[in-house]
């Protein structure tokens, strides 16, 4: 239960105006509306007030004020998150980091870049390009999403199979605590003494502090990258080919899979010459030195053929490589064109469970009478089933959410997790009761209280109350999605 109280809005407003210029405070209906949701538009809530600080000192003063007045604070980057993590609080302040958009330093010899949290993911690689370096995690939204949000969600991407997630690619954070104190977590070196607070902060969904600076690791741009597009007449065969590549000692830079509905949608949208009659395709990217790539391309082509690929296409140059990827990278908007709405899931599973899980999803799809297009980060077992629905049809959103909940429970059942990279946020809070028992949930609350004893930072997200899980009766989300998912239940 959040201990946030109804503050005296008038007095608080006056104090905020002492910290920030007028233009950095948004209050009117039309000013605050753009902040009412993030990338998960099913949940909407207008914030009481939006503040856009520009300096660390301003953030410190805002947080100190909110702490003193017990006002909830929700931090926000670009708002591209897919789990409602940046959904505002009705009585709270929405703290936008959009003005923290400077690249502070690129240090090629140290292979690191220090940036403000509002810098876009792709902008880091663009700035590092002149040194032949780049920032490896590449979420699909990388053109828009910001590094602060990436840290808050521990973002991954199609290359995380080889190069890891955000947690593997950052060195240091500067964070403002709920009391308004500036702390440095991690360091410019690889090890930092004491507990690994850097790991704890990464993926903490804005619950433990507000990030105001990030130092990321940079990697040398590989000499060469090539991608193989393999078609299969059976999804199970494609799944087996994934296991075979990895069992053979090859770690591709990316290993993605799409099923037929996703292939058709992507081809229709991106014209990437995808084989539209294939039941599944695999995209396997190999990168490294020229010799290494040449050797591995040969090996993987042979493996894919042995595993029953019906056709193979290997990129001969950068233009061909980008074209092959274009279909995959635009899979979400492509599906958005063939259906009025879609709901993107984010479960992870051990790879060997793929055939079973796909079969179950297909059965559930029939049961709920809702179509599914499947896009996977197959190499690391991260599924993105896209459930197609129409929000204008009464009851369809509720059915979709119930179906989605079942997919996530299925992931937990086979030894996986309810979220691989999108975070829990508001969306998967009930599935947390399936993933964890009360002892673990209690320690999550204990961790939260170690940083934020008044529960002011992003209240009601990421970790359900034990009470809520008990009410759901050991997870009754099976028995019907909540009727008003937008309502605050905390």
């Amino acid at each position: 239960m959040t201990r946030a109280k109804h503050a005296n809005r008038k007095s608080l407003r006056n104090q905020l105006h002492q910290i920030l210029p007028k233009s950095n405070i948004l209050e009117t209906e039309e000013q605050t509306r753009p902040y009412e949701c993030d990338g998960l538009t099913a949940y909407q809530q207008k914030p009481w007030i939006v503040v856009l600080p520009e300096t660390i000192e301003q953030v410190q003063r805002i947080l100190a004020l909110c702490y003193q007045e017990s006002v909830p604070v929700v931090a926000r980057g670009a708002g591209t998150g897919l789990s409602g993590g940046a959904l505002p609080h009705a009585n709270g302040i929405l703290l936008s980091l959009a003005k923290f958009n400077r690249i502070i330093d690129i240090n090629p010899a140290n292979r690191s870049a220090t940036v403000e949290p509002g810098v876009r993911n792709l902008a880091i690689s663009e700035a590092a390009k002149e040194f032949n370096l780049y920032y490896a995690p590449d979420p699909s939204s990388q053109i828009a999403c910001t590094i602060g949000g990436n840290v808050a969600e521990n973002a991954g991407g199609v290359h995380s199979l080889k190069y890891g997630l955000t947690v593997h690619n950052i060195l240091q954070l500067k964070v403002i605590t709920v009391e308004g104190e500036l702390v440095t977590i991690g360091s410019q070196a690889l090890d930092t003494p004491g507990y690994d607070l850097l790991a704890l902060m990464t993926g903490s969904e804005g619950m433990l502090g507000v990030i105001v600076e990030v130092t990321v690791k940079l990697l040398p741009t590989p000499e060469l990258a090539q991608v193989i597009l393999a078609a299969f007449d059976d999804v199970v065969k494609a799944g087996e080919a994934v296991g075979a590549i990895i069992a053979d000692g090859i770690i591709p830079a990316g290993l993605e899979m799409m099923d037929n509905p996703a292939i058709r949608a992507a081809e229709d949208y991106a014209k990437a010459d995808y084989p539209v009659d294939a039941e599944a395709i695999l995209l396997c990217e190999l990168d490294g030195t020229r010799e290494e790539v040449a050797e591995q391309i040969q090996l993987v082509e042979r493996l894919l053929t042995n595993k029953g690929a019906t056709s193979l296409r290997t990129s001969k140059n950068e233009a061909e490589r980008l074209k092959i990827w274009l279909g995959r990278k635009s899979a979400f908007p492509a599906v958005g064109r063939i259906s009025p709405d879609y709901y993107c899931m984010d479960g992870t599973i051990p790879k060997y469970q793929l055939p079973f899980v796909l079969k179950r999803i297909s059965e559930l799809s029939k049961e709920y009478n809702l179509l599914v297009a499947n896009v996977f980060h197959a190499g690391d077992g991260n599924l993105h089933p896209l459930i197609l629905y129409d929000a204008n049809i009464k009851g369809e959103l509720e059915r979709t959410e119930e179906f989605g909940g079942k997919i996530l429970e299925l992931c937990v059942e086979v030894g996986g997790a309810i979220t691989g990279e999108h975070g829990v946020g508001k969306e998967k809070i009930d599935q947390m009761c399936v993933q964890f028992k009360s002892l673990e949930l209690q320690i999550f609350h204990d961790i939260k209280h170690s940083f934020d004893s008044l529960e002011l930072l992003n209240p009601g997200k990421a970790v359900p109350t034990l009470h809520r899980c008990a009410e759901l009766g050991g997870m009754h989300v099976h028995d019907g999605a909540l009727s008003h998912p937008g309502l605050d239940r905390f």
């Binding site: 947690v167 030195t289 290494e292 050797e295 051990p350 990279e421 320690i443 961790i447």
Partner: protein, 360 residues
Amino acid sequence: MMSSNRTQELQDRIRAAANDKKMLTIIGGNTKHFYGNPPINNSNTEILETRIHHGIVSYEPSELVITARAGTPLNEIIELLAKNNQMLPFDPPLFGEHATLGGAIATGLSGSRRPFTGSARDFVLGTKIISGKGDIMSFGGQVMKNVAGYDVSRLMVGALGTLGLLLEISIKVLPRPNTEQTQVIAMSRKDAIKKMNELHQTSLPLSGLAYENEKLYIRLSGASSAVSSAQKKIAGETLVHAENFWLQLNEQTHTFFKQDKPLWRLSVPYVANIDLDEESFIDWAGALYWLYSTKSAEEIHQHAFEQGGSACIFKIPTSEKSPQERFMPLQAKVKQLQINLKSRFDSCGILNFGRLYSDL
């Protein structure tokens, strides 16, 4: 594969200790007892041995994941992985044949591959622990990507057993490289640091960059064609039995590590300029310095801090008295957050109290 599930016994011991207000000193293979502040040893402390809790729980090579009980000998895991042409990618030092997986994770130490493939904490996917109250909890799992809940598994790495007793650990493993070769080039320290920084910005298949006694060691790993092409580019001499050199560095059996003075470990940025007038062994492409020094702790801490890193006293001669803290002091608020965490995971303060910092 030996299997021994003694969870209940360990849980009972911790519950009893919490009840009787006894402090527990956790011991695995007892190979890294010198690391961290010395365990408290008085009439109120008891030893809790984890080697009784051993065995590999699951291993599926194509999933790139192994799960083992914390008391499992590292050697057993390394051998099993090698049979499947895989390895622990973070090169944990053993410091003795009885080293356990739990000890490797609790100390969080990583070997020479670290700047290129990652550290112990990078490869931990999940843990099962017993808290100071005796509660058994599981975090993370066996999948590569999992962002449900706070990352408690990685929080355990390097915590020296002060937040919980490790029961089981799931680790991501990697294929062993087809080929490894090491080139050696004689050069000054200053030139070597510059060279390491330059090489590290290239896409050459590097897996080790170390410097000692006027020689730069460059290890290359990967496809044989890629390694031989890189050898030509780098030049220098090819080191025969190179695996011995890297093993002696990792296990500190190299003659450098035979001095009768406190051994310092400095973790610093790659570009650091460490100047303490001492001979040092440089690893991690310039980001890790081993040096023997009799300089004051304050002076060494200050120097490492100014360079953007930190220093700890890794080992002291048995004849010398240990200073109160082996690790560098933390920013006050950061320390407070750590004390808060300790009080939540181990509310009675019975698990390895004082090993990391005297108040944790």
